[in-house]
Assembly symmetry: C2
Homo-oligomer: 436 residues x 2
C-alpha cells in the first residue's frame, strides 16, 4: 500500500463536484478499502458520486489495475494453446458459454472461463452447470490449470484470491443502488478477466428489454469502455453488441438450459443460439489467432465442430474433469403449467425480461446471494417469435418444484407474448462489433 | 415505527433515478436508521443520491418532521414571555448570538438558544462562551427551563434526546461528503429548532467567501426552504440574507470574540456587528410580537438597550446562571505575531474565509468533532475594509498557544488583505429579507 494516506472525505467531495482522482489516490482508496481502513459508508458515498459523475479513462484504468492488484492472478503462462475467453453482460436463456467454451477448445483454443452465479432475472452459467449431478465449480487454481492442460477448457468460479477488491466492492454496490454505473460495471468485469489471466477476450454486450442495458447507446459505451481498458492492459479484445429482446433458444432456467446446450453441441441447436455462438466463436478465434479464423469460412468451421461431435466430446470431458456425470439424468421439475396463446397468427414478440423474471420467481434464480436455486425450475418457450400459433396452443411451459409458485409466475408473464397476423421482420442478432 | 418495512436499496435507486419517496417511506427510513436497522452504508448512498437529486417540498417536510419525532421536544409552554430564537448558517467572527440573545431577553423576549460547536473555518457559539471560566453549556432540560424563567435567555448545547436522527445523520454526512446539500442542511437546522420548541425564529443566512454558501442564489434557496419548512410546522419565521465577505467585527476566535461581544453589550461595539445585531433583533422582535417592534424605531430601541446596560446585565446574569464568572479574566494567548500591510492606502477587502481558516489552524477551531479548541487562539483584525493603512502597519494580529502554529497561519493569510488607493464602496450587510 502507498506510504501516504488521504482524507477520504476530500476524495469523495472532489468526485462529487466533478473532479478527478489521480492514480495514487485511486490505488490508495482501493487498497485501504480492502484493508478495512476505509469504512463501507465512505465507499458507498464515493460509489454513488461515481454513479453521477463517472470516471475518466485514466481513473478507470487505475481503478481496474488496483482491483487486479488487490489479489492474485491465475498463472496461464506456458500453456500450449492460445488462451481466450468470452464474457456476457447477462441475458435471458443465455447458455452460450456452455456451448462456446468447449467449441473453442475443440478448435484449438484454451478457454479459462471464470464465471458467476445468477442474481435477478438473468441466470448464471455456474447455476446452470451445477444442475448436472456431481458438477463442481469451486476449483483450486492448480486444478484449473491441470484441467486446462488436459481438456483445453474449464468453467468455474473465481476463487476468493482473485480481485478481492472487486468482490468487496460488488457486494457493497449491490446493497447501495450503485450497480448500474458504466465505469463501475466495466472495471468490475475487466478486473476479473484480467485476474483470470486470459490473453484474449470477446465481450457479448447485450442490448434490449432482457438486458442490463436496454439502450444501444449505453451498451456501446460500456463495450467501448471495456475494450479500451482491456487493450490498455495488453488483452486482445473485441466486443459484440447483441440483441436481447427475446430469450436465447427456447429454454430459460438451469437443467432445461443444459439440455438445450447439449442438443446444440450435438448439432441440433436452435437457430438463434447457434448464430450467436458461432458469431462470438469466430471473433474469439480471431483475437486468439486460431487457424479456424484464417480459414475461408470461420463460422462454417465452427458449425462443423458442432455437428461432427468434437465440441460435445470436449464438453463431456470438461464435465467429467469437474467431477460431473455427463450421462446422469438431469433433475426434472415436479409441477408444470402452460400459458396458452390468446389469438391465432404469428408470435411477434416474446419479452425476454418478463420471461426471465418469471423463471427467476419460479426458483431458477435467487433474490439474495445466499439463496439456493432450483436446478429444475424454469420456463420453456414452446413458440418463439416468427413461429405460427393457433389460439389456445401452449406458448410457454412453466416448471417449478412448488406448485404455489406457478400462478404468480403466470401473472408476471401477462403481456409477455405478442401475437399478430404477420410474422415479424427478421433482425440480425449481432448489432455491432467493437474493436480497439 | 411503521408496521411495514421497505427495501432500502429500492428507495436509494428511486431517489438516484430522480423519483420521490412518499411520507411513509421517509418516516420509515429515518426511524429504521435511528434504530440501526438501516446500516450507515445504505444511508450514505441515499444521502449522496439526495445531494444530486434533491428533495421536494413534501419530502422535505416529512423528513424534518421525522427527525423531530425521533426524540423529545423542549417544553416551553406556559412561559410568561414570547419565545423567539435566531440561527446563523455560520460566519467568521460571528459572535452575534452572544449579543443578540441577551439583547432580545432585555426587551421582553424569551430566547431558548440551543447552539453548536464550530467545525472547520466557522466558529461555534458554545466554543466562544466556554472561553469564560466556569461556563457550562451542557444543561438538563429542567435547568434550561428554569434559567429561561429566571433570566429570559439561555445559550446551551442541544441534549442527546433532541432530534437524535439529525445527530446521527449529521455525523454521517460529515464523513461522507454530503454536508453541502440544501435540503439536508435545511432539514437538519429546522429539526433542531423545531425540537427546541421556540415559537418564532429568525435565520441569518450568510452569503459570500466566508460563508458556507458563497452564492446568493443558493443562499436564497436555503433561506426560502427553511422558512417554508418552519411555516409549515407553525413557526413564525423570517430569514435575512447577510453578507459574509469579511469577518464580523475585528475579533475571530473564542475569548477574543467574547471580549468584543461584551464591548458591544456595553454600547461600544464595532459598526458592522451592531448593524447586523439590531437588524436581526428587529426581525426577531417582529416575529415574536414584542413591543419594541411596534415602536417608532425598533433598531433604535435595541441600540438603547445596548447602550444603557440592560443587555449587558442580562448577559452577565445568563453567564452566572450557566455557572460562568462574568468578572473572571479571559484566557490570553502566549504567542502573538502581526501581519504588516504591504502597501499604503485603504484596506479594500479582507477575505473572511482565509481569516477563518487561519484562526482555525491557530487552534480556535477543530478539525474533528472530538478535538479540543484553544480558548485564547485567534486573529484580531487591526484594520478592516474602508480603513486607511500605511505600508508596514500591522493589519492582522495572530494569537496562538504554540509558537509553531504562527508561521503556517501567516502563510494561509497570503493574499487575504487587499489594499488600494481608494476606500471600497460601502455595501449593506443585509442583502434580502425572506418572509413566508
Amino acid at each position: 500500500m502507498s506510504a501516504r494516506t488521504y482524507e477520504v472525505v476530500e476524495l469523495i467531495r472532489r468526485k462529487r463536484d466533478g473532479g478527478r482522482l489521480d492514480g495514487a489516490e485511486i490505488e490508495w482508496l482501493v487498497d485501504a478499502y480492502v484493508a478495512d481502513l476505509v469504512p463501507d459508508y465512505q465507499m458507498a458515498a464515493f460509489l454513488m458520486a461515481v454513479f453521477f459523475e463517472g470516471l475518466d479513462r485514466a481513473e478507470l484504468g487505475r481503478l481496474t489495475a488496483a482491483m487486479v492488484a488487490s489479489g492474485e492472478r491465475l498463472d496461464l503462462e506456458g500453456l500450449a494453446r492460445p488462451t481466450v475467453d468470452k464474457h456476457s453482460t447477462g441475458g435471458v436463456g443465455d447458455k452460450v458459454s456452455l456451448v462456446l467454451v468447449p467449441l473453442l477448445a475443440s478448435v484449438g483454443a484454451c478457454v479459462p472461463q471464470l464465471s458467476g452465479r445468477g442474481l435477478g432475472h438473468t441466470g448464471g452459467t455456474l447455476d446452470k452447470l451445477e444442475a448436472i449431478p456431481g458438477f463442481r465449480s469451486d476449483l483450486a487454481p492448480s486444478a484449473v490449470r491441470s484441467i486446462l492442460e488436459r481438456v483445453g477448457c474449464v468453467i468455474c468460479a473465481a476463487g476468493p484470491g482473485l480481485a478481492p477488491a472487486d468482490r468487496k466492492l460488488y457486494a457493497l454496490r449491490d446493497v447501495t443502488g450503485t450497480v448500474e454505473s458504466t465505469p463501475l460495471i466495466a472495471s468490475s468485469i475487466m478486473s476479473k478477466k484480467l485476474a483470470e489471466g486470459t490473453a484474449a477476450l470477446v465481450l457479448d454486450v447485450k442490448v434490449g428489454s432482457g438486458a442490463f442495458m436496454p439502450d444501444l447507446g449505453r451498451a456501446r459505451e460500456l463495450g467501448e469502455t471495456m475494450v479500451a481498458i482491456g487493450a490498455e492492459h495488453g488483452l486482445r479484445m473485441a466486443a459484440l453488441l447483441t440483441r436481447m429482446d427475446e430469450p436465447i433458444g427456447r429454454a430459460v432456467g438451469n437443467a432445461v438450459e443444459v439440455d438445450e446446450a447439449v442438443a446444440t453441441l450435438s448439432g441440433e441447436g436452435p437457430d438463434d443460439l447457434v448464430e450467436l455462438t458461432v458469431a462470438l466463436g469466430a471473433e474469439m478465434a480471431n483475437v486468439a489467432g486460431l487457424e479456424v479464423a484464417a480459414s475461408a469460412d470461420p463460422p462454417g468451421g465452427l458449425r462443423a465442430a458442432l455437428s461432427d461431435g468434437r465440441a460435445l466430446s470436449v464438453f463431456r470431458e470438461m464435465v467429467r474433469a469437474q467431477t460431473g456425470d455427463p450421462d446422469a439424468p438431469l433433475p426434472v421439475a415436479r409441477h408444470h403449467q402452460v400459458v396458452p396463446a390468446r389469438a391465432s397468427g404469428f408470435v411477434r414478440a416474446l419479452d425476454a425480461r418478463r420471461v426471465g423474471v418469471a423463471a427467476w420467481r419460479l426458483g431458477a434464480g435467487r433474490g439474495k446471494k445466499e439463496d439456493p436455486v432450483s436446478p429444475s425450475a424454469g420456463v420453456v418457450c414452446l413458440r418463439k417469435p416468427g413461429e405460427p400459433v393457433e389460439s389456445g396452443d401452449p406458448v410457454l411451459e412453466l416448471r417449478a418444484d412448488e406448485p404455489a409458485l406457478l400462478r404468480p409466475a403466470v401473472g408476471l408473464l401477462e403481456g409477455a407474448v405478442e401475437i399478430g397476423p404477420d410474422p415479424p421482420a427478421r433482425r440480425p442478432l449481432v448489432l455491432e462489433v467493437i474493436r480497439p
